[in-house]
Amino acid sequence: MKPGLWRQHVRAGLAAFEVTLRINAPDSFVLFTIVVQPLIIAIMAMWMLVERGAANALYVVVGSGMTGLWSTLLFLGGNSINWERWTGTLELMVGQPTPVAVIVFGKNAAVVFQSLLSMVASYTVAAILFRQPLSVEQPLLFAVSLLLTMVAFVSFGLVIAPLFLLSPAVQHFQNAIEFPIYMLGGFLFPIALLPGWTTPFSYLLAPFWAARALHGASTGGASLEELAFDWGMMLLLGAIYLLISGRLIERMLRKARSEATLRLE
């Protein structure tokens, strides 16, 4: 790719990032998904897990924050292409020279960036309401894990968005796949509680490796080797997701152009 073209794509991605942040800021659904829901889950988890000594407060903060991260990605990132269709701007997005994937990447990055507020909300609940001591054991490793988590989540969002557009039947199950990822990702309890046959599904999900890394780095329960493995898995799965999403977006555009159904639901 020519350097000029590369710069053009970065600029377009950043513009999509900024516009998405601005559009989402006053949206009450975004507020609910990013703040209210993780906050209520954090309150319940603090009572259910911390008060009974099953987990420490930091585990709950990270786990509840991740529920917010996933729900936001599922509902906002998942609809990032559909949203353009609903507002009548999909044709413009498809018609301009920047690849659709770049725009969707920028939009999903904004969504994931905003959803980090979930962790802040959970942290606030644990620190103020439950007066729990909260200190991240390995701050630097936690920061790296958080950064890679964002990359992995954005890549995962790139698979979901065209999939929802290609298959309305899958999108009907959007609400129904919120809690399963909480479970398969091991956000608030270990996946060992689930039947053994579900474990391979967890391994295929970047959110699982993200939760492992964040829990491990925050509580100090993981060694550097273990964290490096989790990071590697996030990067590997992120790359696979990008490849899959490229194919899906290509297929989506071909289908929409050949069938002239870009605007139609």
Partner: protein
């Protein structure tokens, strides 16, 4: 007599059409996603978290609490969207323009959701039996069915009240989602009421579901209908109170909307 027949027809037709319109859909996969898969996932998540917290011996506590909580899928989302849907689809001016009995019209919006909500709770309990070995052998099943009916009724009462909010606000989903999750935290579905601080308990007892969940747990543990009757009476009265409040708001909003010409304003 003719008036009674007309009102009955209005109630049944209105209830049925509103339900069909909401599930415009009435497509199997939509129903499957929202009424089977999502509830199953929710029960699994909270019950497994409960097991992680306090061991498999307490699975029944969480399975029952979350199964009964499913009444709020219909009670809150279904009923609210049935009422709010009239506004979104532009039917509100026609409805308010008719001489139809408002109470019949209003309460009809909840009728099928009470029945469908009961089915949802029964499915939730069935998941509890299948997945967590929930033991219903001690339960008086008739009394349990009555408890489910009353709990679904009271939750729909809250839905009717929230539905009125959707007549004047565009933040319906925010309100619905928040109440749905607050009920999860406050109703005793996942946190025992005795472990809550005083102010939370006060809020809990003012909400539907709380007494219904407590009564269901007692019945499944072997209590008789007479023993849980006070809880059921409280749940029923609370539901009635919410309907009354909702109906009063509905009439007030109708009056205000007509006076100000804001029937379709967003």
């Amino acid at each position: 007599m003719r008036k009674l027949v007309l009102n009955l027809r209005l109630f049944i037709d209105g209830a049925l059409l509103s339900y069909i319109a909401l599930f415009r859909w009435l497509q199997p996969h939509t129903y499957l996603a929202s009424k089977v898969v999502m509830p199953l996932a929710q029960i699994l998540f909270f019950t497994l978290m409960g097991i992680f917290a306090s061991g498999p011996g307490n699975a029944a506590f969480y399975a029952i609490g979350n199964a009964i909580h499913l009444a709020s899928i219909n009670g809150i989302y279904g009923v609210t969207m049935s009422i709010g849907g009239d506004r979104w689809s532009g039917a509100l001016p026609y409805i308010f323009g008719t001489p139809a009995n408002r109470l019949v019209l209003f309460s009809g919006r909840a009728f099928f959701h009470v029945l469908d909500g009961m089915l949802g709770v029964i499915m939730g309990l069935a998941w509890g039996v299948l997945l967590f070995g929930l033991d219903l052998s001690q339960a008086d099943l008739g009394a349990l069915a009555l408890t489910i009916l009353i709990t679904t009724f009271s939750t729909s009462g809250l839905g009717l009240l929230l539905g009125c909010v959707s007549l004047v606000s565009i933040e319906t989903m925010f309100v619905n989602n928040t109440f749905y999750f607050l009920l999860l935290a406050f109703s005793g579905a996942n946190i025992p009421l005795t472990e809550m601080p005083g102010w939370m308990q006060s809020v809990a007892w003012a909400l539907p579901l709380t007494r219904g969940i407590a009564a269901s747990r007692q019945l499944i543990a072997g209590s008789t209908l007479a023993e849980v009757a006070p809880l059921l009476a409280g749940e029923f009265l609370l539901g009635g109170l919410y309907i009354l409040l909702g109906y009063s708001l509905f009439r007030w909003f109708e009056f205000q909307a007509k006076r100000r010409g804001t029937l379709e304003a967003f």
